[in-house]
Symmetry: C2
Subunit: 644 residues, 2 copies
């Protein structure tokens, strides 16, 4: 540092600025964050020292901690990134209450092991799950009347282009849909009401943006023909989880937002050049936020104005820029925003989508009424939909809202949250240079990606808590080797100033999340036997049924015993164990493990599940309960006898 | 309730007492915890109300919470139960800093996907992992001079009888050993010094108890011949992780404890009747805590006094009761303790093992000096090793220590922790009816299994914090459907009274755990390229190598790019991707995902990993970085081209 009087904050900002410039210059391999080896450590040390000296006591800001037995005020529905799962946090305490296995294998619950979970996951011809990996990105929940209705959440898998639905009464995944002809499925958002029938004021569709361009179809032909490549925006039916339609666009789509009136969905985009090599993707000065006119697209599908791709039967309409030049018939509208934007979020007053600059230090405020006006032919220039484009800081990514007119945007490169007032930003952009739109700044630790505030993406945004998903935790927690946790920071936003009240380490990579008031969700705590056609309702009916070499074991669990003390099969049999948990007490889950046969799964109270395996190893196998249930839990087992 | 003045605590105890009696009466299917449907809910409600009215403020007891940026004081090494993983918590905050994949599949890190992890896990002939499920039980760490030395931790898998080692410099699993001829591998404990060479004052062996009796060998013969059944106690070498020897015993072993002088290991046991049907296992009035004379067993092995079982080459000595009647030559000593005991723990003063009664309301204090005296022929009756056997409450399971002479035992059926003084208990048992050994009682929520205190199982037990693993959380957290989290409760034990300061929900089933002072563990935060023979040290050497239809891709990652923009293979090729992360910055991990090819894994700074797959689908596959690394992370990818 040149001057001794440099304050640590300044040197930290300088370092990050330098790092940015190297990264943006595209020096690639030798640049970017790899340049921060020493500077980064110094920055972390500075910040840490600062925290020790100036961090707020729990008295400053609301206390996020809960006394023993106290319940949290909000559900946090958290993406698990490439852990493939979803997570449920209690907020403000930050405690993880549940992991929901979705695209991952989970040997606690038997997800990927039971026949029921494999039917949801999809299987290969040999009966094993088709995929074992997933990369969950964005979690969003169903709406009614502009706020969460507690029916469903959805989360997407980027690696294998799948959309999963989570029932919010049981907090379990019940359906997974693989999108056809899509690669790099990045953003999702449910609609908030019907675009045509305004009586349908709840979610009926989920929109899916795809990032990577691939040949259509991707069968090994047209490998080097950019004109044969494409990216599809997909509409999935919220109830059936079937794909309704797809819309081909220019550019690589990231995030998705939807309007409160149901008429518009949008996705921010990069590579509007449609390049298929990296070097071809970065030339345009501006990329776009592309808007979809849902009613027109669905009319086009009705009118038969679509193609299909490869083996898929899904109608694909043409939403490319060239095909939609006339606003009055356009299915899509491309609003130009600075190069490689990232993140698009709908403000809770229903007026704006805010698109963050990523490589530009700006956020672009797009006025939805004007986008509709453009589609109506009442606006001569699409650029006039832009209500504001203001500088916020380096690396703006995602934006949350407090319901009081303020927006909170993550600045990845600055490692900062910026609180800014949307109305003031519009004034400033309109020429009022006295308008002060930046309200507050807060350093976070470090490099924040997504952010969200309590009820932010609803009409009931309540401005209480803000969570910031920091991608690097560096020295914020006890060291645990080369793989660091990420750092979810909790910020009290109930006052004028943002107050950082807690750090929470999380297993990578919690990509995105929503924060839902607890009264929006009503759960079932015990299953109903009638929901399971295979249920064994009376333990007296426990039995071993044989048809040829297929053997079915009908079994029940009731603490502290399984209903059969033993069951016999023959080597070579295909064995199916169907287990019903007849205990009715809330929280009284049983497990069922078979040594050496790769079987373990749980059955919750009044639930039925099954597994199928080939009895290829003769001998004695003590099947035991893995989920603590009773003082004699350890003695709860059944003897599987595989005869030679 | 009969009287209006009944206090909620009393009614709760009454309820639990009733439930116990039903359970112990063996009414089985219709009894036990399933009886608590209404009573349980009432008890929970009572307790919850009590908590709201009387729970300590954070000021009562030390505050367990940490300000943003403050580090925790202890590492908690937590078993993950049938999640198959190990977990690292920071204590006292209770924050989970890391999950360590061990027996489970983990698509975040690629555990079960990379060639390196599959080599540790073991594979089937088709190259997929041999098992996808595991049931981790007990975590224990290596010792030197009677305390943790920060080298290793071990955790066992009950389902498939495997022992895994975790390096504590990297917090990663580096070796897994499957024990031969063992089923239901329950307890483990490392030795604390060598039984013969007292210069070796650190861990060199890990002892493993097995629970289920199976025919030896278990090949489908002798299915109904109890005399052919057996259970083996196994010694694994701490460094090589190879099995050194096994010892056949009577009874089903649960937990394991080891003495500070290295001479003794012990396991508590039930089914000393050696029954192979449930009904045959419960007749004996007393079961045993079996002690192993390690030096004699190893001498017997040297002397060739062993057999082998089936295909296994491991020497198996005879430790059954009948074969070890003469103390002077005995390999084992069976100390009688009340029926179906559970849990055996070594006191930090090195004098006692404490065996908890489970079905008996007692703990048995066994004096190690007297066990050695018995082996020396200086004690006429093994029962004289019992220094005390005192009533604690209903369902005693596991015991922790504070280093000040007090023991803390979980009472599963009472849902309570009892603090008791060992010296006073010995006095009481010796006839001094004025000796008050019970110091304090604390209700916990609900049904505690394991417990442990900070540094409890070392000579440095410091009596600061106690963790209690409660199996049922009922209404202590926001409801998340039929599957409940478990409840890890944190108790301040620094004063005379136990003070419950926090509830933490955890994903099932954290079976057991240890709490290690943070200065005991020194981690590596960046790998060394030289540790990886396959490392690509210079990105200029990135290349595609072909030998017949085997193709190897040598690739490097450096934010924000992979070293090859694309790589081509042919349909049908067997493709191996070897990826080296050349970034050197701490925390700068990259991921590598291939859509539709079931590939995702991470490479930490300076680490190398590989995957192998068959290129059976022609087309374009955008391999992308899944672990946030840079402002241009989203653009970090490489094009896999599979030609037709």
């Amino acid at each position: 540092m040149a001057k001794e009087e440099s304050v640590s904050d300044l040197s930290r900002r300088q370092f990050l600025g330098t790092s940015t410039m190297l990264g943006l210059a595209g020096i690639g391999l030798s640049a970017g964050l790899s340049a921060c080896k020493d500077g980064g450590a110094q920055a972390a040390a500075d910040s840490s020292a600062g925290a020790a000296a100036t961090a707020p006591a729990h008295g400053a800001g609301h206390n996020p901690h809960k006394l023993p037995g106290q319940l949290d005020d909000y559900y946090g529905l958290w993406s698990g990134g490439h852990s493939g799962e979803m997570r449920v946090l209690g907020l403000p305490s930050g405690r993880e209450i549940k992991r929901i296995p979705v695209f991952n294998m989970d040997c606690m619950s038997g997800w990927g092991i039971t026949n029921e979970s494999k039917a949801i996951l999809g299987t290969k011809p040999d009966g094993t799950p088709k995929y074992m990996v997933g990369d969950t990105h964005h979690v969003h929940a169903s709406y009614a009347k502009g706020t969460y209705d507690g029916r469903y959440a959805w989360v997407n898998d980027k690696i294998n282009s799948r959309l999963a639905r989570i029932r919010l009464d049981t907090f379990e995944c019940d359906k997974i849909t693989e999108l056809p002809n899509v690669q790099g499925f990045h953003g999702i958002f449910p609609d908030k009401r019907d675009p045509v029938d305004q009586n349908v004021d709840h979610t009926t569709r989920v929109f899916c943006g795809s990032e990577f361009h691939i040949p259509h179809p991707n069968d090994g032909r047209d490998l080097e023909s950019p004109e044969k490549y494409g990216a599809l925006f997909t509409c999935v039916d919220a109830e059936t989880m079937e794909v309704r339609w797809q819309c081909k666009v220019d550019g690589n789509m990231d995030l998705v937002a939807t309007s409160y009136d149901g008429k518009l969905a949008a996705s921010n985009q990069y590579n509007t050049e449609n390049g298929i090599h990296y070097e071809d993707m970065m030339s345009a000065e501006r990329d776009a936020c592309v808007f979809f006119n849902i009613a027109r697209i669905e009319q086009a599908v009705k009118d038969g104005k679509f193609k299909t791709v490869g083996d898929s039967k899904v109608p694909v309409v043409d939403g490319t820029k060239a095909a939609n030049a006339d606003p009055k018939t356009a299915l899509t509208a491309y609003v130009p925003v600075p190069k490689n934007p990232h993140g698009v979020n709908a403000s809770p007053d229903a007026k704006y989508f805010i698109c963050a600059g990523k490589l530009s230090p700006t956020a672009t405020v797009i006025e939805l009424e004007k986008v509709l006006a453009w589609f109506d032919g009442k606006l001569d220039d699409i650029k006039k939909t832009i209500a504001a484009e203001v500088e916020l800081g380096l690396g703006p990514l995602h934006t949350a809202f407090d319901g009081r007119g303020n927006a909170y945007t993550t600045l990845f490169l600055d490692s900062q949250m910026v609180k800014w007032n949307v109305a003031e930003a519009i004034k400033f952009y309109g020429g009022d240079k006295n308008a002060k739109y930046v309200v507050d700044r807060l350093d976070v630790q470090f490099q924040p990606g997504h952010t969200n505030a309590s009820m932010s993406e609803t009409r009931e945004a309540d401005g209480q808590w803000l969570a910031v998903g920091c991608k690097f935790s560096k020295d914020r927690f006890l060291p645990v080797g080369p793989l660091h946790p990420e750092n979810e920071q909790l910020v009290d936003i109930s006052g004028d100033k943002m107050i950082h009240v807690a750090d929470h380490p999380v297993y990578p990579e919690p990509h995105d999340f929503i924060i839902v008031k607890r009264d929006k969700i009503k759960t079932r705590q015990v299953y109903n036997l009638d929901d399971f056609p295979l249920a064994l309702k009376d333990p007296k009916e426990s039995r071993v049924e044989r048809h040829g070499n297929k053997v079915t074991i009908h079994l029940a669990s009731q603490a502290p015993a399984f209903s059969l003390r033993e069951f016999k099969v023959k080597k070579g049999d295909e064995v199916t164990v169907i287990l019903t948990n007849l205990d009715k007490v809330e929280d009284l889950t049983h497990g069922f493990a078979i040594p050496k046969y790769n079987v373990n799964f749980i059955v919750n109270p009044q639930e039925t599940k099954s597994v199928t395996f080939k009895a290829d190893k003769p001998g004695i196998y003590w099947c035991y309960c893995t989920h603590f249930c009773h003082a004699l839990h350890l003695e709860m087992r059944s003897r599987l006898i595989v005869e030679r």
